[in-house]
Structures are given as structure tokens and as C-alpha cells.
């Protein structure tokens, strides 16, 4: 809205009611987004007894760190963390390199196979082999129980390739290519010397999209991984949070003598675990969210 129009506008009575409704809706929505998160944080800092008696509603009751102590003593969780960091780092690196390369080639209008490659990529957005054929193929490639089953199959996302292509086309001036040509530069030199340095924002968009997908996914590990030592964090979380497989026998907290307390503690542990596993993402996302927004916006331009 134009600044002049806004300044000249008086807020009428009707508009006040309308704005009131708008803010009410936004308020309710934001509170319902935040409440579950606050609730989990508060539970994680409460005492096991207060939690199990359903006394935690908004703020921690009888605050303590017992849940966190139990989490930090659980070796499985840290192994999962380590595996996830490795899978995410390797997968993001491979995915980003392949995606930006494909995006660059497709951004060149003179590339003869452009339409054919675009079609081949687009089809993958709507159709796939399905669970079993893919599983058998991965098995055939001897990738079961290796990091490759997790990082390779999703390494080229057609959507991100198209987002990258649109970005390169719209933000890197064609004159730069002509200048490179005049200097006797080749396509590969243009890619490494000009595109890559100038495409940093889109590299961030692509890399972060792959990273969050890999960090949060459990599906491929569920299907392809059977060796517990290679489980990523999300599988460990599923075992403990959803399937209640928690082993407290090794917990060094020696005062666990009653069965009941043990059970209470295993419930409390879940809240602390939710925080320990989600806090890194939630702490970082306000600073990187612009790259996700950018991805959606560039993707929308393409339609």
C-alpha cells in the first residue's frame, strides 16, 4: 500500500472492528502455536511426580534437572546425534553440489537437451517407483545398512533444481557470461568462477532445504537401516518417545529404587529428550528462515 494513501487514511469504526477480529485471530493462532512448545519446555524442567500427577499446565512445577541428567547419560541418544550429523552433512554436500550443477546447466537457454532434461526431472515430482521397487533396487545396489541408502536416493530434488535455475536466470546478468566468453572462458569456468560465487544465496536455500529434510526424516532409515549402531537420531527418538523403549538400568541416578519412580523418570525423560533434540533447530531457524521463504517465493514464480 502506498505510503501517501496510508497516511491520508482514517480508521473508521467498521475498520476498527475488522482489525480487532484480525488481531484476535492472529493472537489465538500464535498462542496455539506456542502453547505446546512452552508446555513441553515446562514439563521437561518439572519434577517427575508433578508431571505424572498432571500438575504442569503452563510453568514448571517443582523445577529440577532430573530429566536432562537422564538424557545426558543415555549413550544411544548421542550415538544417534553423531550419526544424524554425519548423514546430514554428507547428504547436504552431495545434494547441493548436484543440484546447483543441474540448475546451472538448465539455466543456459542454449543447452540443446534442456527441454528433455526438464521433462525427465519434472516427471519425478509426480511419479515414482514406490516403496518396494525402490527398496529392492537399493538392496540390489548393496546399499542397505550404509549411509548411501539415506543420502543418495534423494540427492537431486527436481523442485530445488528448478528453484536454482530460476534464481540463476533472474539474478545473474547475461553480460557476465558474454564477458567470460570474450576472455576465452568456458562453460565450466563460468560456472566455477562466476556462478558459484554469485549464487551463494541460492546455495544456502538448496543446502538448508536438504539439511532439514535429512535431519528430520526417519523414513529411509526405518526402511534401509537394520543395524542399531547406524540409526540416526530420529529412529532413536521414535524408539524412546513413541515405542517407550527406554533403558534406565544404566542410569547412574542411584536413588531409582522404586518401580514407580523409574516409570515416572522414563516419562520425564521424553520431554527433556524432545527439547535436547529440537533445540538446535529452533535456536537456529529464526536466522535461516529467510532462505526457506526465498525458496518458496522463487518456486512460486515458476508456478
Amino acid at each position: 500500500m502506498g505510503l501517501a494513501a496510508r497516511r491520508g487514511m482514517k480508521i473508521s469504526g467498521r475498520d476498527k472492528i475488522f482489525l480487532g477480529i484480525v488481531y484476535l485471530f492472529l493472537g489465538i493462532f500464535v498462542i496455539s502455536i506456542l502453547y505446546p512448545l512452552i508446555y513441553v519446555v515446562s514439563c521437561s524442567f518439572s519434577s517427575p511426580e508433578a508431571l505424572m500427577q498432571g500438575r504442569v499446565v503452563l510453568l514448571p512445577v517443582n523445577p529440577g534437572l532430573q530429566g536432562y541428567k537422564t538424557v545426558f547419560q543415555n549413550a544411544k541418544i548421542w550415538l544417534g546425534y553423531k550419526n544424524t550429523i554425519i548423514y546430514t552433512a554428507v547428504g547436504t554436500l552431495i545434494g547441493t553440489m548436484l543440484t546447483i550443477t543441474a540448475a546451472y546447466v538448465l539455466s543456459r537457454r542454449e543447452f540443446p537437451a534442456r527441454n528433455f532434461v526438464t521433462l525427465i526431472f519434472t516427471i519425478t515430482m509426480f511419479f515414482g517407483g514406490g516403496t518396494i521397487p525402490t527398496y529392492l533396487w537399493i538392496k540390489n545396489l548393496h546399499m542397505l545398512n550404509t549411509i548411501w541408502a539415506i543420502v543418495l536416493p534423494g540427492a537431486v530434488s527436481a523442485w530445488l533444481v528448478f528453484v536454482g535455475k530460476t534464481f540463476i536466470r533472474s539474478s545473474i546478468p547475461e553480460e557476465l557470461f558474454e564477458a567470460t566468453c570474450l576472455d576465452g572462458g568456458s562453460y565450466i569456468q563460468f560456472f566455477t568462477k562466476v556462478i558459484l560465487p554469485l549464487a551463494k544465496p541460492i546455495l544456502a536455500v538448496v543446502a538448508l532445504n536438504y539439511a532439514i529434510g535429512l535431519w528430520n526424516s526417519y523414513y529411509s532409515a526405518l526402511i534401509y537401516m537394520s543395524d542399531a549402531g547406524k540409526y540416526p537420531l530420529q529412529i532413536i527418538l521414535r524408539d524412546i518417545l513413541i515405542q517407550n523403549q527406554v533403558d534406565l538400568t544404566k542410569a547412574a541416578t542411584l536413588d531409582i529404587n522404586s518401580q514407580q519412580h523409574k516409570q515416572y523418570l522414563s516419562e520425564l525423560l521424553k520431554y527433556s529428550l524432545i527439547i535436547v533434540s529440537s533445540a538446535p533447530m529452533l535456536a537456529v531457524y529464526p536466522f535461516i528462515q529467510k532462505y526457506f521463504i526465498k525458496g518458496v517465493m522463487i518456486g512460486a514464480v515458476k508456478g
Partner: protein, 299 residues
């Protein structure tokens, strides 16, 4: 010059080679594995040498007693999710658009974005805790107001509402970006013209904002409708327990159980293929209808 250029294209082909081979290996080779659905697969013989079975596994699918249930569950869950969940991001974007203070807007938007960064496993776990029968906060509140505790996970009736509402919680903020972007590109002269005509803010939303973002709305609707049968396996599978199978068993979870858990490879592939084919048909129909009604379509 011409020759030199042709030579240069080789570099483009070389660069494209690796991503292209990746797509062929990991997306297209499995597609040929779909022939499994028409074969009696045996591990020893492999896909190619296994004998043909025709439509045996599709007939088996259509005659098993659970088929109507999983088909209905899949359709109801995604259709209800679409109808209830689809308007939320639009409403959210329209409201954000009324917040003129950039900082407040940015702050609120950031908050609504948070759940997108939380993994499905954690989201389902939070649901389990909050709706727990024994000590969940929802039941604490119900008991506080004099009601008796509800066993949300002990029967099928609560699966769909909990699934759909938590889905809105997870994605409404993220999905609203698309509409916020569309709204930010509305021509300001339209607002000025509306102001001259003495339009109220609500009338501007009705007669300027909504018509301007209608194409975006239609395209997302077509895309979502095209995915009517492909609800994410992950969340449903995590929320499932024997007590809510009556509403929570969907095609995707059935494919996983028959295929990965019970190793009925051919049958499971047939189920998955049935799912994809229905999806494609729905996408084409909805696209056609959208084209007829509003002139906007995917292709």
C-alpha cells in the same frame, strides 16, 4: 565460431551427466520395478526372470476385506485434511497482510514458522504426551472443568481430528508464505482506487486481495487435490496403534506392512501402483476442472 560453440556444449553435457545419471538410477530404475506388480516375484529369480502373474495381485487387493476400509480411510483423511486445512494459510496470510508494522508482522510470522522445523517424530510424541489419558494436559483441563478423562488413543474416533488439527499446527505458517508473497505483489494502485471509492478494509480484502491471489489459491488447490491419496506415511504410521486401526490404517501404511514387514513384494507393489494411478487420475481431473472454471491450471 559455430564449431567452437558446439564444442563448448560438451561441457554442459558433462556437467549435467552426474545429476542426470542420479535421477535415472534412483528415480527411473525403480519405476521399472513396478512390473513386480504384474509378476510372481521370487527373490532367487529376480524381477526379470520371475513369471508373469497378470492382474492377480490387483484382484487380490480388490477382494481382501480390508480394502474398502483402507481406501475410505485414505480418502476421508486427506479430503477432510484438505477441506479443513487448506483455508488456514490463506486466512493467516490475509491477516498478516493487515498488520502494517513490519517488525510485528515479521515477529509473528517467525513464531508461526517454528513447527515446520520440528520433526514428525517429535510432533507425534508431543501429541501423545498432551493427549495422554493418565496425565496429559488436555485431560487435566477436562477434569478441571468437571469432565471425565478421555482416552484419545484408545479408540479410532479421535485419530482424524488430532491428525488434521496437528497438521494445521505444523504447516499453516510455512504454507502461508506463498500467499504472503502473492499479496505483497498486489498492485498498490488497486488499493488507492478502492480508497477513493470509500472501501472499508474488509471490502479491500474481499474485492482486491482475494481476487489478486486467486490464481495462487487455485494452483495450490490443484496440487493438493492431486495428492489426495498420497498422505505422508510417516505421521500416520507413528500415530497408529491397534486401537485406532479402524480409522488410521491407510494405503501407505498397508503398503509398508505387507511389503517391508511381511515381504509380500508383488502384492505390496500392486497396492502402491494402484495408489499412484488414482493420484494421477485425480490430478488430471482436478486440473481440467480448475482450467474450465477459472482459467488457471498446472499444464
Amino acid at each position: 565460431m559455430k564449431v567452437k560453440k558446439q564444442k563448448r556444449y560438451i561441457q554442459l553435457y558433462l556437467l549435467m551427466a552426474i545429476p542426470f545419471v542420479f535421477v535415472v538410477i534412483f528415480n527411473y530404475v525403480p519405476m521399472f520395478g513396478i512390473t513386480l506388480a504384474f509378476k510372481d516375484y521370487s527373490i532367487r529369480k529376480g524381477i526379470i526372470a520371475s513369471p508373469w502373474a497378470g492382474f492377480k495381485y490387483f484382484r487380490q487387493l480388490f477382494t481382501i476385506p480390508i480394502f474398502p476400509t483402507i481406501l475410505k480411510n485414505t480418502i476421508v483423511l486427506s479430503l477432510a485434511g484438505l477441506i479443513i486445512g487448506f483455508p488456514f494459510p490463506i486466512l493467516l496470510a490475509l491477516c498478516f497482510n493487515e498488520v502494517k508494522r513490519a517488525r510485528v508482522k515479521k515477529f509473528l510470522q517467525t513464531l508461526t514458522f517454528a513447527p515446520y522445523f520440528i520433526s514428525t517424530v517429535v510432533v507425534v510424541s508431543i501429541l501423545f504426551q498432551m493427549f495422554s489419558y493418565r496425565y496429559g494436559v488436555v485431560n487435566s483441563v477436562i477434569k478441571f472443568f468437571g469432565g471425565s478423562a478421555v482416552n484419545f488413543w484408545g479408540e479410532g474416533g479421535f485419530f482424524r481430528p488430532v491428525y488434521i488439527l496437528s497438521g494445521i499446527w505444523q504447516t499453516a505458517g510455512y504454507s502461508s508464505i506463498l500467499y504472503i508473497a502473492a499479496l505483497s505483489s498486489v498492485d498498490t494502485s488497486l488499493y488507492e482506487a478502492a480508497a477513493i471509492d470509500g472501501a472499508t478494509r474488509f471490502q479491500k480484502v474481499l474485492h482486491v486481495d482475494i481476487p489478486c491471489i486467486l490464481p495462487t489459491i487455485v494452483i495450490s488447490l490443484v496440487l493438493s487435490a492431486g495428492n489426495i491419496l498420497s498422505i505422508g506415511f510417516e505421521k500416520v504410521y507413528l500415530m497408529q496403534n491397534p486401537a485406532n486401526y479402524t480409522t488410521s490404517e491407510i494405503i501407505a501404511t498397508y503398503v509398508y506392512k505387507t511389503g517391508i514387514e511381511q515381504a509380500q513384494f508383488s502384492f505390496s507393489t500392486a497396492v502402491g501402483l494402484f495408489n499412484s494411478v488414482v493420484n494421477c487420475i485425480v490430478l488430471l481431473i482436478v486440473n481440467k476442472v480448475a482450467d474450465k472454471i477459472s482459467g488457471t491450471s498446472l499444464f
